[in-house]
Amino acid sequence: MNYRNSIFQTVFYFLTAWVISTGTAAGEENLSRISLANSYYAKGQYQEAAAGYQKLINGGYKNGFLYYNLGNSYYRLGKTGPAILNYIRAKHFLPRDESLKANLKTAILKTEDQLEPPSAKGIGTFLFWVNDFTLKEQLKFLGIINLFFWGVLSIWIIQKAGFWNVARKTMTVILLIAIISIGAKVYLESENTLGVVLAKNTQIKSARGANNVTLFQLHEGSVVSIIESQNDWYYIELNDGKKGWAQKEFVGSEGAY
């Protein structure tokens, strides 16, 4: 019995230490770097600000406002392509942020082609709320609903008729919707990858290879859907259904955040 207790204690201490250590991983240093980059931005030193934000992102730091600020810095530098790409990446973490939506629209209006991200299709239309919540938010919601569901089920075991029966059925439906929503979110994020043209202009080819027929031309900041990735080429689709192959070096993928 003592041996078993000591194992449980060790595991408990290890987990506690892990939680504490990861909780403080963000640390003061990252926040001071963000603060410094913000101050560069405020002084109009957008190049330095962008470099500061980018360095944090390259180091694996993930935050929607960080991408947002980086997008703003690129916009100020006149680089609409990288600006739009970072706004789209920020949208993953801040799906309901109005400032982000406004800045993205403004940046797109600055582009030659004015191609906007595709609107929701298929599952995205049916489960319309999925795109308005991050995966993390949906998992948190699932956790709470899960707690309520089992709680209600426990009471229902004792008191099967009346209110608790209705509550059990309602909680079952809500739990199922929460699970389906998470599944849809994962599916949509893996299937619908957006790309943004980063070069001043790029030629979209009929097949992989620079010698193939040029189907059309896209300019910096054009938002496209990436259907497939093969070697150095993306197979892209525009909102109007036009498709073709674009060189990866000229197109930034939102999935590469």
Binding site: G23, Y61, T106, W150
Partner: protein, 605 residues
């Protein structure tokens, strides 16, 4: 049209049997017995027939395939091998026959030179064979044959760009399979458009009913001059009856196959149509309009507008539709010439094809988004189309009806500028600009917003806890509820579960009592133990003897040793009742022993 052969045929089985027989009766043969013979099924054939050439090697079964002579005037279509063994009056003769199907490529007299076989250093030669290939129809009229083809054009003297219909027809009165059609139109002379799948219909010609397969293609000559459309070639397998079986089956579709033992066999034929001469005329120079569309045919043009009354800055759609028999696919309508008061955005044209009365009709729809810039009454001028009508033999111009528009002032006047036509890139064209302004919103500076959002250890533990803990707790709760319910409703279970607790309490009470008479002590101890056993086994324990207890415990799968110990202890209780002792130490030992045995029984229960 392909029919897969049966996996195992009678010929195959016969060949296998022959090979087995050959293995059994293997005897050496002399070089003098070996010979090579060439044979054909017909020395005089028509172009389009298939010649069957057989090379037979006699006297040896495992000979290599003879080398065929050069056959530049024929195409070898297929080949097969057959071997045979005959035993007549004890004399065995063996042979291997190599069969070839030859398709003649041109008419004339040809000699098939000897084939050569090299065997054990000896060269064997076959006999030469003379073949006469005549033009189709020289021996028998094509229209009496089981199948024939024809090709023709709707107009042998078309203008450049005028549509002409090329029609190919296969007439057949027997079953056919493996159709392989080859029609070639020279590039640079015609542009072609398919007119859908082949039509199949029946027609009686000279009292004979034919199934007709008709395939049509629309051709548009690209340049003028005399040209020849190459003959169409159709390779086909036709069902032919054996001369030994002239009787026509009443249900040929069902019974003319190998399964029902029909003697029908398939003949391969190559059918050719006649070449077609077409003289393409250039378009007349006289009367040619300056902006000629280069379309030849019978055409129509119309224009419609989405809204005739609208406000400055609103959008309406101008739709121009062209339809007719001309080559419209590649035609692009120039942008309508409108006054400076409009912005115009062309859409991608739509094109549709349809077949009407054996003519390929095209419809091309051009759409233009129009944005009026200034209020007032505007007229959209007519749109013209100049084309050449070959039926009337002259150039024609068709115009759409002018469309009048009433433009009211914009509700929210904008700085609309006609000079920005075709540059819809900046602002003013989308209402969203008004809501966002011309500049981006500022950066976020609140540091608490910058918490890292990637999943860390605490998130994972919290999420796992939220997902796993509730069902685990629910499971424990369910077990607890079920346990309580069973205690409440199942008396045997309740007695069983409570037995040890009751016995232990009573034993403790007995051990702490100051000093009951010894006889009473032994009885109480015995009662406690009897009650325990009775509760455990859900029986009336007080009336049991020590041997009955032992047997009941064994029946309930208690270890034999414990059952025996119980019996012994039970005996001690009884003897103590009748021979009491005043030694309190002995009493406490009895209680300890009882408690030990109860613990052991409880563990095993």
């Amino acid at each position: 049209m392909k029919i897969s052969p049966l996996p195992i045929t009678a010929n195959f089985l016969i060949t296998c049997l022959q090979l087995m027989l050959m293995a059994l009766l293997e005897t050496p043969v002399n070089a003098e017995d070996i010979g090579l013979t060439a044979r054909v099924d017909n020395n005089e054939i028509s172009l389009g027939d298939t010649l069957h050439l057989s090379l037979t090697v006699k006297g040896v079964l495992n000979a290599p395939e003879p080398n065929l002579p050069p056959l530049s005037d024929f195409r070898i279509r297929s080949s097969s091998t057959a071997s045979s063994t005959q035993i007549i009056n004890g004399q065995r003769t063996v042979s291997v026959t190599y069969n070839y199907q030859l398709v003649p490529l041109k008419a004339g007299s040809f000699t098939i030179d000897p084939a050569i076989l090299e065997l054990a250093g000896v060269t064997y030669q076959s006999n030469p064979v003379l073949i006469v290939v005549s033009e189709p129809g020289a021996h028998s009229p094509a229209k009496k044959s089981p199948a024939y083809i024809e090709a023709f054009v709707s107009n042998a003297n078309p203008y450049v760009n005028e549509q002409l219909i090329y029609t190919f027809r296969l007439y057949r009165r027997v079953q056919a399979r493996n159709l392989d059609l080859s029609i070639s139109f020279e590039d640079g002379i015609f542009r072609k458009e398919d007119m859908g799948d082949a039509k199949i219909f029946s027609r009686t010609i000279n009292g004979i009913q034919y199934q007709i397969h008709e395939l049509t293609t629309a051709l548009y000559p690209i340049r003028s001059g005399d040209v020849e459309i190459s003959p169409a070639t159709l390779e086909i397998d036709l069902l032919a009856k054996s001369p030994n079986s002239p009787r026509q089956s009443p249900f040929p579709q069902i019974f003319d196959n190998r399964f029902f033992g029909s003697r029908a066999n398939w003949l391969h034929k190559t059918l050719r149509s006649q070449p077609l001469a077409v003289s393409i005329r250039p378009l007349p120079k006289a009367g040619k309009p300056v902006k000629f569309s280069n379309i030849v045919g019978d055409l129509d043009i119309s224009a419609t507008i989405g809204k005739k009354e609208l406000k400055a800055g609103d959008t309406t759609t101008l739709t121009v539709t062209l339809n007719g028999s001309g080559a419209l696919k590649g035609y692009l309508l120039p942008l309508p010439k409108l006054s400076d008061g409009f912005k115009i955005y062309p859409d991608k044209p739509e094109f549709k094809l349809s077949v009407q009365q054996n003519t390929l009709m095209g419809e091309k729809i051009f759409k233009f988004a129009l944005v009026p810039l200034k209020p007032g009454h505007k007229i959209l001028p007519s749109i013209t189309l100049s084309y050449f009508d070959p039926a009337r033999n002259k150039y024609l111009i068709k115009k759409t009806t002018p469309i009048s528009l009433t433009i009211e002032p914009a509700e929210f006047p904008e700085n609309l500028n006609s000079a920005e036509n075709f540059k819809p890139k900046k602002s003013n064209t989308k209402n969203s600009i008004e809501t966002t302004g011309e500049d981006i919103l500022p950066i976020h500076t609140r540091l608490s917003d910058f918490e890292e959002v990637s999943a860390n250890g605490s998130d994972v533990i919290l999420l796992t806890g939220r997902l796993v803990a509730p069902p685990v707790l629910f499971l424990l709760f369910t077990v607890y509820i079920r346990f309580n319910q069973k205690l409440k409703h199942d008396k045997a279970f309740a007695r069983n579960r409570k037995a040890f607790k009751i016995a232990r309490q009573k034993l403790k009470k007995l051990s702490s009592s100051s000093g009951p008479p010894p006889r009473d002590f032994a009885k109480k101890l015995s009662d406690i133990f009897r009650e325990y056993v009775g509760n455990k086994l859900n029986i009336q324990g007080k009336a049991l003897t020590s041997f009955e207890v032992e047997q009941k415990l064994i029946d309930q799968d208690y270890p034999k040793e414990q059952a025996e110990q119980t019996r012994v202890l039970w005996g001690k209780y009884e003897s103590l009742q009748y021979a009491p002792t005043t030694d309190s130490k002995n009493n406490l030992d009895m209680i300890d022993e009882s408690l030990r045995l109860l613990n052991q029984l409880e563990k095993k229960s």
